[in-house]
Each structure stands twice: as structure tokens, then as C-alpha cells.
């Protein structure tokens, strides 16, 4: 494989507060290749969205990148000046947010917002931009785009709004889209439509997507690889099929077991006791150890490195060769 499109090494995101320094993302490393879909799953507070925000340079202060490196297309981007980052953002890296209503300006027609975005990124006059906007709306599956382009966001339903947001994101023809829970606010039937739009984009345009979600079903549908996050760390990363069919880390196993299944007998759900630790109270060693059923000696004191198991990388002492001796 050639140079990855996005490469993250030991990314640390911290929030300095008056009482303590909270580490929300703790040494996260992964890569995304061109045209690849990487799913990032985890429960609320696992640091998924912050990782996404750090990549695109939209961390809310006082949050800041406290360590690590982010490379996009071979260029280091985590230390770029605001002005340079602005050129990258929207044009080459774009973001889709969870709530389509808050990402559109309610006072402007959909077309105006699209045309503005297109003209910001591409050298086009207004007429060309409008034509392009209609094409984009058509591409994301909005019926009668010639008339809908003059509608206001409130005249669109939730699913249609999310399509408009996707059209906006496509305006700059980005190489990487960071989609933060793009279907969470939508009904299942609409969710399926949005997933198929995203899927088509990937295959037709070769756009890479970092898909952040807590919905395992969505990941299974669309992602090539997936990463599981727990309290700011990646506990397991690998091919989607491997992780779903054969999870290795005890947390991934618990997570998979807790999803009600759609086939087979109705069984009691697997239950992970307790809940995710708070940021000011992260346990020592492996942060999952107080909830883990397989906990043993090294877990209490030291965090496990990423260990290659099959094709996946797992951060768990259970798979360490040294300990098996």
C-alpha cells in the first residue's frame, strides 16, 4: 500500500481545568488509506468525536492537542497556522455533524449556502456554482433539485437536511470526510438511505471517510476497518469483519454481546458491569480493568501496548507473548 491519506501518531488531547489536567484522548494512533472507510465506535465519552475534531482543527478551547502528530497526505497538519488550516478544512478535509439542523443556517436558502461554499473552494462564477449546486443536490438524491435549491432548511425533513449537509461537504471535493454520528438523529429507514449515499460516494469518488458512531450496525454496513475506543484509547483496531465476528479485547466482546441480535434465539444480553470511568478518575494500568472479567496481574499497573493478534491490533495483556511464558 502507498502512503496513507491520514496518519495519526500518539495523538493526545487534553483539557486543562482548574483542578486537574484531563486527558480525553490518550495516545491514539491509526491510519486511513485513500478511499477507505474507517469506523470509530465507542460509548459516549470515549473520545471519538474529540479525535475527529482534533484532526480537522476544530477543538473547542480549552481543549488542545498536547502531543502526537497528524499527517495528511504526507504533510504534517497538527501544527499548521489557523490560516493554512482554513484552506485545508472544507476543501480537502470536511466534516459532517450529527444534527443536520444546527449545521445549516436557518436564515439562508439552501442554494445560497451551497453556492457560497462552492465559490469559496472552486473558481466559479455564480451561475456555474448554481449549476454545480443543483448537480450536487441531485447526486445526494434530493428529488427535483432545481426547485428545492431555493427552499429554506426548515422546509426539508431530517433525512433531506442531512443530504443537503452531505452536498455541502462534497462542494469542496474533499479527499477525507469526517462524519460524526451522521445518522444518529434519523429514523432507520432514512438512515439506510444516507448510508447508501455515503457508500456510493466512497466507491465513485474514492473519498476516504472516518465514520464516528456508536451504532455497530452502521459500521458493519459500510466500514472497511474499525477502531474501538474506550476512555480515550483505541483498544482494538482491525478489519470490520474480524472485529464483529471474532472480537479479541474483552471490551469489544462485551460491546458486541450487548447488542440485541436480529437473528437466532432471544437470549439474555451480555452485560458489562459498571460504566465508563470519568476523566478525572481514570484507573491505573489498563483503564478497562475494573470492569473486565479476565483481569489479571499486569492489568493493574501497566497499560498494554498494541499487540498484533491475527490481523487486528489489540491493546490487552491477555495476548502478550511474554506473559504466556
Amino acid at each position: 500500500m502507498s502512503e496513507p491519506l491520514l496518519k495519526i501518531k500518539d495523538l493526545i488531547v487534553e483539557f486543562p481545568t482548574r483542578r486537574a489536567l484531563l486527558r480525553a484522548v490518550d495516545k491514539v494512533s491509526f491510519e486511513i488509506a485513500k478511499g477507505e472507510v474507517l469506523g470509530v465506535v465507542g460509548e459516549s465519552g470515549a473520545g471519538k468525536s474529540l479525535t475527529g475534531a482534533a484532526i480537522i482543527g476544530l477543538l473547542e478551547p480549552p481543549g488542545r492537542i498536547a502531543g502526537g502528530e497528524i499527517y495528511f497526505d504526507g504533510q504534517r497538519i497538527d501544527n499548521l497556522a489557523d490560516e493554512q488550516m482554513r484552506h485545508l478544512r472544507g476543501k480537502r478535509i470536511a466534516m459532517i455533524f450529527q444534527d443536520p439542523l444546527t449545521s445549516l443556517n436557518p436564515l439562508y436558502r439552501v442554494g445560497e449556502q451551497l453556492i457560497e461554499t462552492i465559490q469559496t473552494h472552486l473558481p466559479m462564477n455564480k451561475k456555474q456554482a448554481r449549476k454545480r449546486a443543483i448537480e450536487l443536490l441531485d447526486e445526494v438524491g434530493i428529488p427535483a433539485p432545481e426547485t428545492r435549491i431555493d427552499g429554506y432548511p426548515h422546509q426539508f425533513s431530517g433525512g433531506m437536511r442531512q443530504r443537503v449537509v452531505i452536498a455541502l461537504v462534497l462542494a469542496g471535493e474533499p479527499d477525507l470526510i469526517i462524519a460524526d454520528e451522521p445518522t444518529t438523529a434519523l429514523d432507520v429507514s432514512i438512515q439506510a438511505q444516507i448510508i447508501s449515499v455515503l457508500k456510493r460516494l466512497c466507491s465513485e469518488r474514492g473519498t476516504a471517510i472516518m465514520l464516528i458512531t456508536h451504532d455497530m450496525g452502521v459500521i458493519a454496513e459500510i466500514a472497511d476497518r474499525m477502531a474501538v475506543m474506550y476512555s480515550g484509547q483505541i483498544v482494538e483496531i482491525g478489519k470490520t469483519y474480524d472485529l464483529i465476528k471474532n472480537p479479541k479485547h474483552p471490551y469489544t466482546k462485551g460491546l458486541m454481546g450487548s447488542i440485541p441480535s436480529m437473528s437466532g434465539e432471544v437470549k439474555r444480553l451480555v452485560q458489562i458491569p459498571g460504566s465508563m470511568p470519568r476523566l478525572n478518575d481514570i484507573p491505573s494500568g489498563c483503564s478497562f480493568h475494573p470492569r473486565c472479567s479476565k483481569v489479571f496481574e499486569p492489568c493493574y499497573s501497566k497499560r498494554s501496548p498494541q499487540i498484533k493478534v491475527g490481523q487486528s491490533d489489540v491493546a490487552c495483556w491477555l495476548y502478550s507473548e511474554e506473559d504466556k511464558k
Binding site: D187, T240, Y241
Partner: protein, 332 residues
């Protein structure tokens, strides 16, 4: 589960007035406008069973829930719980007694707990309101019992809601619902605000409590995998009407109504069998101006002239109550 019917809903209708103000109506020559949120809905729930209502947003699930617990008055129709008509004005005393047997768990555990009250006050409120215990000590003891029942410590009663996580808050809501010894609990999307692993904890807890106290649930959700896990029978709603009612097993194995099939097709496939899913077309229409005849016909692959004209009636096919012309005529 017994065969006694605990909740009986007959021909329930609910209209909401969505007209513009009077002056606007006069100036703009507009008529009054009504939104029909629930249209001629009948269900029966047996004692000890979990009946689930599913459907997309705007299909009227929550409106049904609110009417069943008495938070909304039905425009037309009857609701009977334990053989008592909820609208019977001559039986106020019996109805008040019966109300203690109905409870509700809401979707958002952040909005449904008073942030200024301690948990013990929240949980003991139904006990005091229905006069179930009079001694102060007995109330404290009962509150402690309820908290341990849902997996919290009795000492948690001294805390405020903000000190708990989402899952723990939903446990507090369940403890409050159990406080009045209910028979029937309406759960309106109880886990959709929670993470999967927490959802699993809450779903397991709800099933345990059902076994322990013989509770009857009306379970409202849009998540079909959760519904499959929890329900004995399922009613599928579309634009205020029931389109299919069936046992959970047969609904998932052999869905009849085209809408049910579409919904089942839309669920992301976690098994990764790689089967092709049919893309769904369109979305739920505006309920102020619903399509004529069968309201599903603009999205239905089987629709014909009759579907556009006539409202289908429900009929029984292999135990599934289906409301569809195409299935009735054997066109599916």
C-alpha cells in the same frame, strides 16, 4: 403470561388542532386544520405480556402512550384498563385507585428527573401521593428497597440526579415507576438515549423486574432489534394507523405488510451476510395532509388504484393482523 386482557384500546382517535390563529384564518380565508395523530387504533394487551409499538418518527407511537396513561384525552374511542373505562366520570374514586397501577418511563432520563430534588424524594413521591405508607420510617425503608431493586445503593438516595450517569438515572426512573406497585408500565423509548452496553443493562433489568412482579409493558421504540429482544407481540404503526400486529416471532420471520418488510429491510446487517438490501424509497408524508386511501400507497411497491381510493380494513392471515389490500388480494 395469562389470558386475561389488562389493557383494551378500542377505535382510538386523536386530533391535534394545528390551525393558524383566528385572525389569520379570516384574513387568509383558511379553514381550521387538524392533524390526525392516531386514527382508529385498537389494541389489546394481555396481563404479563410486553406489547411493542414500532414505527418511524411521526407515526403516533408516543401519542398512543400518552393517551393510555391518561396524559392526553382521546378525541374518540375507549381505553379500558383492568375493566375500568378511563373516561368514566362516575367512577372517579376507583379510577384514582387504578391510576397507581399505571406508570410511565420516559425517554430522556436527564429531563424526567427534577434536578433540585434528592433521589429519595423523587422515588418516594408516588408512595406519598398514593398514600401507600404513612409512617416516615416505612417510607424511607421502602425507598431504600426500591433503589436496591434497580441496582443502586440505598445510600444513593441522598444524592442529586446530576451525580448519576444516564444509565443510573434511567434506573432511578424505573425505581420511581415501581414505587406505587404498578401492574402496567408504559415505556416510551426507555433506552434510546443510552449507549449499547448501558442499554443492555437496562433491558436485562426490565426483564428481571417483569418476571419478578408479573408486570405488563407497553414498549415503544423505533429500534427493531430492541423490540425483538423485549416484546411478545408487536404492532407496527404508520401515520397513526396500525398496519400490522403479530407475534414477535412471526413478524420477524414472516412479515406481511409491505411497510413492515421495508422497515425490516432497513436495519443494518450486523451479521455481515453481505445480502443486498432493497433501498427504501421516500419518507413518511406530512400528517396534516395524508395521502388518500391507504396512507402508505405512495411508497408502496404493490400499490394499485384500489389502494389510492379505499382505506384497507384489518384482517387475519396466519395469526398476523394485517391492514393491506395487496396482501388480502394475494398480490404480494
Amino acid at each position: 403470561m395469562s389470558d386475561t386482557i389488562l389493557v383494551k384500546v378500542e377505535n382510538l382517535d386523536r386530533l391535534f388542532d394545528v390551525s393558524k390563529p383566528l385572525l389569520n384564518r379570516i384574513i387568509e380565508h383558511e379553514k381550521r386544520q387538524f392533524l390526525r395523530a392516531v386514527d382508529n387504533l385498537s389494541i389489546e394487551i394481555k396481563q404479563g405480556e410486553t406489547f411493542a409499538l414500532v414505527g418511524e418518527s411521526g407515526s403516533g407511537k408516543s401519542t398512543v402512550a400518552k393517551m393510555v396513561v391518561g396524559l392526553l384525552e382521546p378525541t374518540k374511542g375507549r381505553i379500558e384498563i383492568d375493566n375500568l373505562d378511563l373516561s368514566d366520570k362516575n367512577k372517579v374514586k376507583e379510577l384514582r385507585q387504578m391510576r397507581s397501577e399505571i406508570q410511565m418511563i420516559f425517554q430522556d432520563p436527564f429531563a424526567s428527573l427534577n434536578p433540585r430534588w434528592r433521589v429519595e424524594k423523587i422515588v418516594s413521591e408516588p408512595i406519598i401521593a398514593f398514600n401507600l405508607e404513612s409512617e416516615n420510617e416505612a417510607i424511607i425503608k421502602r425507598t431504600g428497597e426500591l433503589l436496591s431493586l434497580v441496582g443502586l445503593a440505598p445510600s444513593d438516595g441522598r444524592k442529586f440526579p446530576h451525580e448519576f450517569s444516564g444509565g443510573q438515572r434511567q434506573r432511578i426512573c424505573i425505581a420511581r415507576a415501581l414505587a406505587s406497585n404498578p401492574k402496567f408500565i408504559v415505556c416510551d423509548e426507555p433506552t434510546s438515549a443510552l449507549d449499547v452496553s448501558v442499554q443492555a443493562q437496562i433491558l436485562n433489568l426490565m426483564r428481571d423486574l417483569q418476571d419478578k412482579f408479573g408486570l405488563t409493558f407497553l414498549f415503544i421504540s423505533h429500534d427493531l432489534s430492541v423490540v425483538r429482544h423485549m416484546a411478545n407481540r408487536i404492532g407496527v404503526m404508520y401515520l397513526g394507523r396500525l398496519v400490522e400486529v403479530a407475534d414477535t416471532k412471526s413478524l420477524f420471520k414472516n412479515p406481511r405488510h409491505p411497510y413492515t418488510r421495508m422497515l425490516l429491510d432497513a436495519i443494518p446487517d450486523l451479521e455481515m451476510s453481505g445480502k443486498e438490501r432493497k433501498p427504501i424509497e421516500g419518507e413518511i408524508p406530512n400528517p396534516i395532509n395524508p395521502p388518500t386511501g391507504c396512507t402508505f400507497h405512495p411508497r408502496c411497491p404493490l400499490a394499485n388504484e384500489r389502494c389510492k381510493r379505499e382505506i384497507p380494513a384489518s384482517f387475519n392471515i396466519d395469526g398476523n393482523e394485517v391492514t393491506c389490500h395487496a396482501v388480502e388480494e394475494g398480490r404480494s
